[in-house]
């Protein structure tokens, strides 16, 4: 062995490299088969960024189908509920340019929740069939109601209701949802109380 290497250094180096290549190729090939990822990982990542309102405004029957379409090259600006922030996130993920929202598919709105005027409901179950997230409760000829915490505000239940008894109630700001705004750099309004005049002078001194 040693003699062979000493005698044919070039050949043995070549052999060694070929051997290594064969071994790693086999390992990689095995790994590719063994650890094959299920589904479409890019579509999954895109889907995780979509708002899951499931409203179909993008022209696809839900967020997942749109995610798959985007993975195959569809434009990223077709989801109104996701809005600007959604487009930015998608652009960052896919390394694309940020483009404005496509007006054709609707505009960004305040989030709303469906509310059924229960006295007027005739119990036709049409809205249940329309709701993409099963957020409506009811039975034939019985009053129906929306589980507000599960409603995504997709508007899909409005149109099928024969007696027009569903309202979309925009969600008001509450103490739970309020938060400090980012400071406006142009504003001269005192926003943060940092110190008083004397201390400021002290600092200057």
């Amino acid at each position: 062995m040693l003699e062979f290497i000493v005698q044919y250094p070039l050949l043995s180096a070549l052999l060694a490299l070929v051997g290594l290549g064969a071994v790693f190729g086999a390992v990689l090939g095995f790994a590719a088969v063994q650890f094959k990822t299920e589904g479409n990982p890019i579509a999954d990542q895109i889907n995780a960024l979509l708002p899951q309102t499931q409203c179909g405004q993008c022209g696809y029957p839900g967020c997942r189908p749109y995610a798959e379409a985007v993975a195959n090259g569809e434009a990223i600006n077709k989801c109104p509920p996701g809005g600007e922030a959604g487009i930015q996130a998608l652009a960052a993920l896919l390394d694309l340019e940020v483009i404005p929202l496509d007006e054709e598919h609707g505009e960004e709105k305040v989030k709303a929740v469906a509310f059924i005027r229960e006295a007027e409901c005739i119990g036709c179950t049409k809205c249940i069939q329309a709701c993409p997230v099963d957020a409506i409760l009811g039975a034939a000829k019985q009053m129906h109601t929306v589980i507000a915490s599960e409603c995504t505000g997709c508007d899909l239940c409005l149109e099928p209701c024969p007696v027009d008894c569903i309202d979309m109630i925009p969600q008001r700001e509450s103490l739970q949802t309020w938060h400090w705004p980012l400071p406006d750099p142009a504003s001269r309004e005192p926003q943060v109380i940092a110190t008083d005049a004397e201390a400021a002078e002290d600092r200057a001194a």
Binding site: Q52, R64, H179, W180, P183, I193, A194
Partner: protein
């Protein structure tokens, strides 16, 4: 002398504490109306247990806690609940929140209290329950429920109990005066906590700018194993984590709790409240609040009932509204501007600051960051404020989190030192809130995704079930057909034969109008024939019975009569069918009653439309006259029968109405020009 440690950074702002230390604590008195927000603490808001109009006594619980991290609310004085509604509260948003409003009656009548002669007799759980039921939430500023903080997990050892008397923020002196005037209650409260937690050591931490408080507490702690520890003044040494580092040299791990390193911290105000709750049974219904600033004539500290409108308290201290630009709750570093002077004092209101015109001016506009690094030097948590600032501007939330944004205590030291006057804390507050909002949104969208997928799976399952059923049915039919073909005509399965016959019949029925008609006629004919047969047998039986003189004669007679009537009906139906048949079969709507009805209605309408207007009117008049005639008859007959008054009246009314209509129709017929 124990070793004092130091924490990184910190600043030395002007203290401005002497203004409010000139007088002892004053009593603010009872305002005519008290507004008590249901959520004065961190955690779930309490839920009201009183009704509007109900009389409540001082110290009575009026709202009970909802959940573990929640505390009750008590009536601060006796009076009547005048409303339970949304009112504006002391919150930077200026939003409204549910409140209980009490109109005080000035009698200040106490509800019965449960005191404990010797708290050492009480079990741990009982002590904690009493602290919780007294509504005590951290009075230093954050408002975290004290009972939650004190409920240590079994097995976790408390090495150090720290009573926080630091009060490092400028202007505020509420804890200082409390320590000067009531050191006994603080020490007694600390001993209750010692009993509850059995800590290795108990320390009271005070900054060295409060010599009177230090002397008073040292005297009161004489003979106990409570140690008063004094350390140099520096902002923000009153921050829980900073104080722990000063006194123990240990750092609370990022994202962790003091208990993780065996420390529990309580503010002196909370300790006094705990003492009052356990020893005297008094719930938390008042607190000491500093009222100060240049726009206040007599600055000082007040014992004020919770729920007192700020306006009322300010008036007590000689508030000069015209000199005041904005009213601040809390101190100049961490406080916020209140939306209105009428919002109520709550458990966390340690100070009302009404600066005059020259005081606390608006910072000059922010300049660009010059990367001087002063903020990083001042930050007590050793963060990198200018990095955080960049990320906050760019909304790079992941980077913000990886730079420990959530360890920022919002002390404002970085903004204070920033030479470019950048409102740094404001960026962190906003970013923190936004990150939390994003997390919540993400949780929600995950939930929606799961529900959407579950629904999708359900629809697929239902569809699959349907197709499977359909396939099974088809297969079964095929098998039967095969069996029939293979079995031949000899040994035919009787059931299969019956099914086939029924199917064939159905097919024949569905095959079209003419056939349908034929079968209908057949049916009727058959009915006539069978009824006639039945009549014959019945009559022969009757004849026999009459011959024998049987007593069944009457029964048989009625049977024969009935059958005869049926026969007549069947014959009539057949006849009618034969007459109507040709007319109906002529149209393509034959056999379908609904279609026939529609066709008839349409024909009638067409006939109507074809009629001249005069003819139409005449027809109408005729119809009306007929109706009138009928109604008159009915009226007459019911009058004759002596029917109920109501019916007669109704009929009479109808008659007059119809008469009017008839005359109108006559008029119209006379002058058709009007129509």
């Amino acid at each position: 002398m124990r070793k004092i440690f130091d924490f990184h950074g910190g600043i030395h702002p002007q203290e401005n504490k002497h203004q409010s230390l000139q007088t002892p604590i004053r009593d603010a008195g009872i305002p005519p109306e008290l507004v008590l927000p249901l959520g004065q603490h961190i955690g779930a808001p309490a839920s009201p247990i009183v009704e509007v109009g109900q009389r409540v006594l001082k110290g009575q619980m009026i709202a009970e806690p909802l959940g573990f991290v929640s505390v009750p609310v008590h009536a601060p004085t006796s009076g009547t609940v005048s409303a339970i509604e949304d009112r504006q509260i002391a919150h930077p948003s200026g939003l409204q929140a549910p409140c209980i409003v009490i109109a005080s009656d000035g009698r200040d009548e106490w509800a019965p209290l449960t005191t404990a002669a010797d708290y050492r007799q009480l079990a741990r759980e009982e002590l904690l329950a009493r602290i919780r039921n007294a509504g005590i939430a951290g009075m230093g500023g954050a408002g975290f429920p004290s009972a939650v903080k004190l409920s240590t997990r079994p097995g976790s050892q408390v090495n150090t109990l720290i009573i926080n008397g630091t009060e490092c923020e400028p202007y505020i002196t509420a804890d200082d005066v409390l320590m000067r005037e009531q050191p006994g209650r603080i020490v007694a409260g600390a001993r209750i906590l010692q009993h509850l937690l059995a800590p290795g050591e108990t320390l009271i931490g005070i900054e060295d700018n409060k010599p009177e408080a230090i002397a008073a507490l040292r005297a009161a702690a004489q003979g106990t194993e409570i140690e008063v520890v004094v350390f140099p003044t520096k902002y923000p040494s009153g921050g829980e984590k900073q104080l722990i580092e000063i006194l123990t040299g240990k750092q609370v791990p990022s994202g962790g709790l003091p208990l993780d390193i065996g420390v529990i911290c309580q503010n002196v105000g909370s300790v006094v409240a705990i003492h009052d709750a356990i020893v005297e049974g008094r719930p938390l219904i008042s607190r000491v609040t500093t009222v100060t600033g240049e726009a206040i004539a007599e600055p000082g500290n007040f014992t004020v009932l919770l729920g007192t409108p700020m306006q009322y308290l300010l008036a007590r201290a000689g508030y000069r509204a015209e000199q005041n630009r904005r009213l601040i709750m809390g101190g100049p570093m961490m406080g916020f501007t209140v939306p209105d002077a009428n919002v109520p004092i709550v458990k966390t209101t340690n100070c009302l600051l009404a600066p005059g015109h020259g005081e606390l001016p608006a910072p000059s506009p922010a300049q660009a960051c010059i990367r001087c690094g002063m903020c990083a030097q001042a930050c007590p948590v050793s963060l990198l404020p200018q990095q955080l600032f960049w990320f906050a501007q760019g909304k790079e939330f992941e980077k913000l989190e990886s730079h420990q944004l959530f360890d920022c205590i919002e002390c404002g030291a970085c903004s204070w030192v920033c030479p470019s006057n950048i409102p740094l804390v404001q960026y962190y507050r906003a970013s923190k809130a936004e990150v939390l909002q994003l997390r919540r949104d993400h949780e929600r969208s995950d939930q929606s995704r799961m529900r959407f997928e579950a629904r999708q799976a359900r629809l697929e399952r239902e569809e699959a079930e349907k197709t499977a059923k359909r396939a099974a049915r088809k297969q079964a039919a095929q098998q039967r057909a095969q069996a029939a073909a293979a079995g031949g005509s000899g040994d035919e399965d009787p059931i299969q034969a019956a099914i086939d016959r029924a199917k064939a019949k159905k097919a024949a029925q569905q095959a079209g109008g003419a056939q349908h008609d034929a079968s209908e006629q057949e049916k009727l004919e058959k009915a006539v024939v069978t009824t006639r047969q039945r009549l014959e047998t019945a009559s022969s039986k009757l004849a026999q019975a009459q011959a024998e003189g049987s007593d069944l004669v009457t029964a048989l007679q009625t049977g024969v009569d009935k059958t005869r009537a049926k026969l007549a009906a069947a014959e009539k139906a057949l006849q009618e069918f034969q007459q109507a048949g040709p007319a109906l079969t002529a149209g393509d709507a034959a056999g379908d009653p609904a279609a026939a009805a529609i066709a008839r209605a349409m024909a009638a309408r067409q006939a109507d439309a074809a009629m001249a207007p005069a003819d139409k009117a005449r027809n109408q008049l005729q119809g009306l006259e007929q109706r009138l005639e009928k109604t008159r008859d009915r009226l007459a007959s019911s009058q004759a029968n002596g029917d109920e008054q109501k019916i007669i009246e109704a009929l009479a009314m109808t008659v007059t109405r119809l008469e009017e209509k008839v005359s109108a129709a006559r008029e119209q017929l006379k002058n058709p020009g009007d129509a």
